[in-house]
Subunit: 225 residues, 2 copies
């Protein structure tokens, strides 16, 4: 019954001839969708910030990075994980929060609704590998593990590579997947910008730190020989 009904809705995405049989429109308002994600993120970041304060040895930067890894790890696993394993999210009943997120985001990039192979491949690697690895990074920083910097570097490079593939494929395919320029800038550009800027800073920091460690290590080795 419902799917027959649902197939009568037309979708708001560009290109308009994109075929999405059984599409159910977004039900929640933009502010609700963004608000829930924003509030959940603020809660996660606050909890990690408070919790990390118990470790006397951690610098402010380390604590901020723990917040970032918790936030980005949960985003990868929950939001992006849902997308990867829900090829028919656009048919989901009105009000299913995670489906609403992707119905809304598809206004900025319809390749999500269209299930573009490049987007799904990148999101799959992000959700399945980078998500859990990000949570491991929270632990690695807290415990000052010897693999902490190399792990953070590896995940950040993965995020940068994924974002690069994401943007380059869009340009190669004509860069015309947004409902309007508002959604283009608000979702496609702005929402992804953090995953360009922050991983770049993390790569820079980890790279510098690893080189520093090798200077000490190589110096120690020449001394002992």
């Amino acid at each position: 019954m419902e799917s027959a009904e649902a197939s009568f809705y037309s979708h708001p995405y560009v290109p308009t001839d994109l075929n999405l049989p059984g599409f159910v429109p977004v039900f929640l308002s933009q502010s609700t969708i963004v608000g829930v994600y924003g509030i959940a993120s603020v809660i996660v970041v606050s909890l990690v910030w408070m919790f990390s304060g118990r470790f006397a040895k951690l610098s402010k930067n380390d604590r901020l990075l723990m917040c970032w890894w918790a936030f980005t790890g949960l985003t990868h696993m929950i939001l992006e994980g849902y997308f990867v394993f829900s090829p028919e999210f656009y048919k989901a009943k009105a009000g299913t929060y995670l489906a609403e997120v992707w119905k809304e985001y598809s206004k900025g990039d319809s390749r999500y609704a269209a299930r573009d192979a490049g987007v799904v491949a990148v999101e799959g690697l992000t959700a399945v590998l980078e998500g859990p690895a990000s949570l491991l990074a929270v632990y690695a920083i807290a415990r000052n593990k010897s693999y902490s910097y190399v792990l953070q570097l590896a995940i950040s490079l993965g995020q940068l590579y994924g974002t690069a593939v994401y943007f380059i494929t869009s340009v190669l395919e004509g860069d015309n997947f947004s409902t309007s320029s508002y959604y283009y800038y608000a979702y496609y550009i702005t929402a992804n910008a953090s995953w360009v800027v922050i991983p770049s800073l993390v790569v820079f920091r980890c790279w510098t730190k690893i080189c520093e460690a090798f200077e000490v290590y190589n110096y120690n080795k020449t001394k002992t020989h």
Copy 2:
């Protein structure tokens, strides 16, 4: 004149309805195409092996890695670089070696001739970023630079990410881009296998080494405090 003539040739690729106006068939034999690449690679590897023998401090593994980075760097820059910047390679006059390489390889994966966005994005990042970085790695190993391991790790992770996107997008799009199962296994699987196996070994080696350096570094820091 030539392009009018050329457009009468039919291509050998799958899917057969792939539209390649102006296609010019492969002219060189498979053994010539593979042979030139093979001989050129053997020359590069031999030269780097001999040259690296002059550095008394380098281990056998370091010297082998220098050979790998020279080989993979030149492959990225020359072969893959040509592909990235030659969208119409399939129209190239018979006998243009680099075009022949991709006309031949497209029998294993027609997405090259079809200019699939995912393939072009990955090849672009590989040719433009990983190619020159690989040559830098040859130098970094020879001079025992403090960034040597982190550079090798970063390139290898990029190669693995690229190969993952390459295979995953193919599976998502139906994994049916080979002229025959011979080309599927000879080109698509075998030719790419080195870029899964070797980068994995390099990542493992660099990761272990970086952790080792941090153990020494962290130990030294606790001692001095």
